[in-house]
Symmetry: D2
Subunit: 286 residues, 4 copies
Amino acid sequence: MKDKASAILLISCPDQQGIVCAVTDFLMRHDGNIIDLEQHTDTEEGVFFMRVEWELEGFALPRDQISEKFSLIADRHQMKVELHFSDYRPRVAIFVSKFSHCIHDLLARRHTGEYNVDIPLIVSNHPDLEPLAKMYGVDYQLIEITKENKAEQEQKTIDLMREYSIDLIVLARYMQILSDNFCRQFPNRIINIHHSFLPAFVGAKPYHSAHQRGVKIIGATSHYVTSDLDEGPIIEQEVMRVSHKDSVESLIRKGRDLEKVVLSRAVWAHLQNRVLAYKNRTVVFS
Amino acid sequence: MKDKASAILLISCPDQQGIVCAVTDFLMRHDGNIIDLEQHTDTEEGVFFMRVEWELEGFALPRDQISEKFSLIADRHQMKVELHFSDYRPRVAIFVSKFSHCIHDLLARRHTGEYNVDIPLIVSNHPDLEPLAKMYGVDYQLIEITKENKAEQEQKTIDLMREYSIDLIVLARYMQILSDNFCRQFPNRIINIHHSFLPAFVGAKPYHSAHQRGVKIIGATSHYVTSDLDEGPIIEQEVMRVSHKDSVESLIRKGRDLEKVVLSRAVWAHLQNRVLAYKNRTVVFS
Amino acid sequence: MKDKASAILLISCPDQQGIVCAVTDFLMRHDGNIIDLEQHTDTEEGVFFMRVEWELEGFALPRDQISEKFSLIADRHQMKVELHFSDYRPRVAIFVSKFSHCIHDLLARRHTGEYNVDIPLIVSNHPDLEPLAKMYGVDYQLIEITKENKAEQEQKTIDLMREYSIDLIVLARYMQILSDNFCRQFPNRIINIHHSFLPAFVGAKPYHSAHQRGVKIIGATSHYVTSDLDEGPIIEQEVMRVSHKDSVESLIRKGRDLEKVVLSRAVWAHLQNRVLAYKNRTVVFS
Amino acid sequence: MKDKASAILLISCPDQQGIVCAVTDFLMRHDGNIIDLEQHTDTEEGVFFMRVEWELEGFALPRDQISEKFSLIADRHQMKVELHFSDYRPRVAIFVSKFSHCIHDLLARRHTGEYNVDIPLIVSNHPDLEPLAKMYGVDYQLIEITKENKAEQEQKTIDLMREYSIDLIVLARYMQILSDNFCRQFPNRIINIHHSFLPAFVGAKPYHSAHQRGVKIIGATSHYVTSDLDEGPIIEQEVMRVSHKDSVESLIRKGRDLEKVVLSRAVWAHLQNRVLAYKNRTVVFS
């Protein structure tokens, strides 16, 4: 029986000669057929990034030996390495509050098979979207948060992530700020959608601010969540033209489509193992 | 001999019933053939805006009586009114420092006839672009500015504006901050290009900041100049996608095309008498 | 009890002086407070278009007398007039085949309240999407079509439209060509999404054609359906950049987001009574 | 004295294992420091493409031995190879007719130093733009073309290209169709700008056609010229939104900015040796 899946290496290391050669030589020696290879050098920072994907069929190493065999090369070049397999189904938790356009969109992408993931869990600080979770047959955990109970509720949430073996958390217009502790538990594993073209209009009510400032273009930004609110590494942004005719309400309405598409693209890129975060920026291999 | 020109009224006033009717009735009673009419109501602020353009040929009032005859209506509705004629050739002064891409673009648009304006004067705080002025046969005034001489040099500049009967000042990457006094002399008559998507990255070196922040889209913004730096009413913005591959230098290179097109569109809209500024925002009739 | 709804007149007629004045005068005489007014003159064709929306609260005429009272003006100017009320909930039927991304998106917009419509019926030539209809509690009519039964099945479909009192038919990737007879029954009442930037790549498999031609941008087009396939009046288009890296499969994947957003905007504009079709083109008041 | 320049290899060959490894190994063995490496595999066609750029400083081979030494690898993999040096100043001829916006833009980019090229020659079938050539100090050759003299005038033009050692011909709204013979002399060395979003609206008057069809977006396309009119490999495209308000004249005016930016980007990509044409498509390494 053939293995149609592919393997993906995500590599970052100090820039130096011979890395591409070393990696591709490793794959060739084990009969690896490269499907895709992208590399990027940040010459200012002196950092090298690489994503290489190859067919597992015909590859001379079994999956569970790749990391070990590659570690020689990795160590020699001080690489940080991630190894992924294309047929792994990531487990995604969606966090929501009351707005449902983003979660609707994500669940539909799962439902139509566009996203090859499991979505076993929705977490919310409000009960409003439980019926939607029911429609799609997804568990819904109501974790109401007050000033007093925040720490313990966050711990409960972290426990849920473990219990459900969650790989990726998507904040689909979740209106709670995650604590430093929470963020550190899931580095580059929490994706948020912010409803402005960051760094313009950080914080609450960005459409109101955009209207107030009279901008002619609005945007949305998806980023990994760090303990600095709205300051994490940007994965994707998109914009659209507006005009003086647009009220705050119409900015909100139009912006919803931006939020949906930007969040879905960021999640897609992450799921395809195409994103490498460093120094509050990202390399997104296309 | 026929008069192929048109007249344009730009109106703003407190919102109330019957304004469109009053204005269109006035034009009809004098046999005015409306070419274009746009109106906008800012319901939050309770302000009404209107632009109406009609053919002068066949219009029963001579040009110099329109304002007086219309003043009855204007007074009744507390209107602020501007009257323009499409065959008037505005006189534009361009302010530059050392970067020449924007002025190149503006002079070419004048040269090809796209802009129906006179550009009698270029003002600069550096001598570098005098040869370009010579190529296009435009006067070049070198007004070098130091901390010590700023006030008097600005007065000299203001005098030049009067001397050359300048209607519109375009800051085409002019790297000096204009004083409050200067700005107040030419309200909504100075257009600047800022090389970022405002309000993101105000101030100097926005491309460096954009690179540092790792944005996936860069922009440019054209606005009327007020005494608040980079805070004046936005007329036009445009953006383009970038990626981790773009160095600061490549952002600067790509951004030049944004700056050119955004500035040229803002100047065009102003020259067509399509822009009404209010409360740090603009209505740009399309 | 107050009537918060508004009334909308959509007007087209031969261009002539005094139309705006006549319409606004009519509204003013009946104490109509205009919320929005847009007009457009196609000077080549000599046709005038207008959309005016005013508050019903305080308006001196009851709803059912507006048409009659306005007919004096309408007749004098040979107007084609549509009168709509903002609180009317249009009834929409969605036609699908097997692809579900567009219908997912439309149903979600209905579900979140973005679209203020009833969607009582889904028609399909395949059974595949019946479970989705069930999820949203919408009737699903399977109308399988063969060469032999096409005429009678279309008649059955037309009967369903009457039975369900359908105002608007949305073809959400419905892969059957409607007959002339069907199209004529619902003039400017059927909206289709075509998965290319028309008029490029008419017909089947446009993403394959786009890939073959090596375009750097793909698009989607929403239009009213006429008996000429892919030739009806265009309501909305959107595009996105692609590159040599995009396979046909990735064009299809990326294109789905274009299709969703373009179709949803076209439907929105229609539902807001903002679209006037003429001569195979549209005026879309913004 | 140091050599700050870089060398660029553009490679295409049948897809097979080990190519990236062979090329990077070659560079490493000669102490080449890779600045940029991009590869692409067209899996349908089974063709591999690669662009690799490395510093000449420190590289162990002198420039004139690179091709020979690399030929071993090239032959083994049946590679088509181009070798370029970043400090070579290409010689560009611009062909124009009467419209000057594109040539204005190109000359300004040369003048400001954005384009590191020589533009020694402008060829035109009309005398109109000779003054512009004079302004920029460029030779202007008037080659008037009639049905009768087309063949001999083309030969004269070809001779001029040889005489001026032209590397790249840019058709900046040149309104003559080049013969098969002419096109074959300069394969992938002639870049044209077409004022539509190809393949929509091939041929003359695309803005009129776009207006007639009522599209909501217009575009421009830059492509290599082949003997099939408007059918050559597309290098770059760009679009912008328009509306029912845009007359043909306003489409033409807005389109000029698209044409300028699309042509300039295509020329830039070509000058950076980033374009590989195959099967009427292009790979444009970013």
